[in-house]
Assembly symmetry: C2
Homo-oligomer: 172 residues x 2
């Protein structure tokens, strides 16, 4: 028979385990993007992922901009590269807007992921279950699943979606 | 100040919330595949998602076979369509193996998802945190994240990955 203290510790360990599972899934997708970026040439990244579809560089910028947007939505601070939002989120690949170079984008990608990782390390399981910044107190009271951890689950799937498309660049 | 009973109830509610978030993410991806299947023609599904890449029908069969494989790995029972494993998991698109028709595949897809949903409804949060059937007791003691819920997180990302590729069939 477990004591009450053991029960409390068990509940807390379980909560941390849930958070670890979600962050691990996020990191796994990030590592896969990193690996792909090592494997593809500049020319491959500049090409369309399929005829008439988004280019590799656009998808890299798009994923970087979405990851950058995690900083404000999770309450960690401002975006590091706010100019990416207009180029890669509000406008399509074939816009007139000038894109950063692939080297710049890769640097942003790494810096933003490092910043996120740094914040994740300092975020407790209870903080992950708190509301994200784009939901009102009132809505959150009715819909407690609209928390920070759920944002990360959703963004992880978004990343997988585009990773599947980026994989077409590798010729595999 | 919360009583111990309230604390216990809170911990249990949080656990159920975590499980709900993961299942919701899975169902969201399933709904997106369902929507795509409504939107594409038979001809589009038979085509390659990009030149030289997997066809729509192969990816549909692949996702269906992976979902079917959730039944044994989560301890819910045997696969409903075990023949899909050889055609869509162990062999590539351009194998000599005869594939089921698109109508059959769509039916399997729906039946397997309905079976999974039925099992999910009967699975408690604690059962989700139990080990899946492909990990040993010994390994699980050291790596408690290798539980059933983690399998579902991983399969949800796998589905998103191929959904990104299937989206190329729609011409959007």
């Amino acid at each position: 028979m477990k004591t009450q203290l053991e029960k409390n510790e068990g509940a807390s360990a379980e909560k941390e385990l849930f958070v670890k599972m979600v962050i691990d899934a996020w990191e796994t997708q990030n590592s896969r993007v990193d690996k792909l970026l090592e494997d593809v040439s500049i020319e491959q990244l500049q090409a369309e992922t399929a005829p008439g579809k988004n280019s590799g560089i656009y998808l890299l910028g798009h994923l970087t901009a979405v990851s950058d947007g995690l900083l404000p939505i999770l309450g960690f601070g401002e975006r590091l590269q706010p100019e990416l939002e207009n180029i890669f989120l509000k406008n399509p690949d074939k816009s007139e807007l000038e894109k950063p170079s692939i080297d710049e984008l890769k640097r942003y990608w790494n810096e933003i992921n490092a910043a996120l990782r740094n914040h994740f390390d300092k975020t407790s399981a209870d903080e992950w279950l708190a509301k994200h910044t784009a939901v009102s107190d009132e809505d959150f009271a009715k819909e407690p699943h609209r928390n920070k951890l759920n944002v990360l689950i959703s963004r992880t799937n978004h990343q997988s979606y585009h990773l599947g498309q980026l994989a077409f660049l590798t010729g595999k």
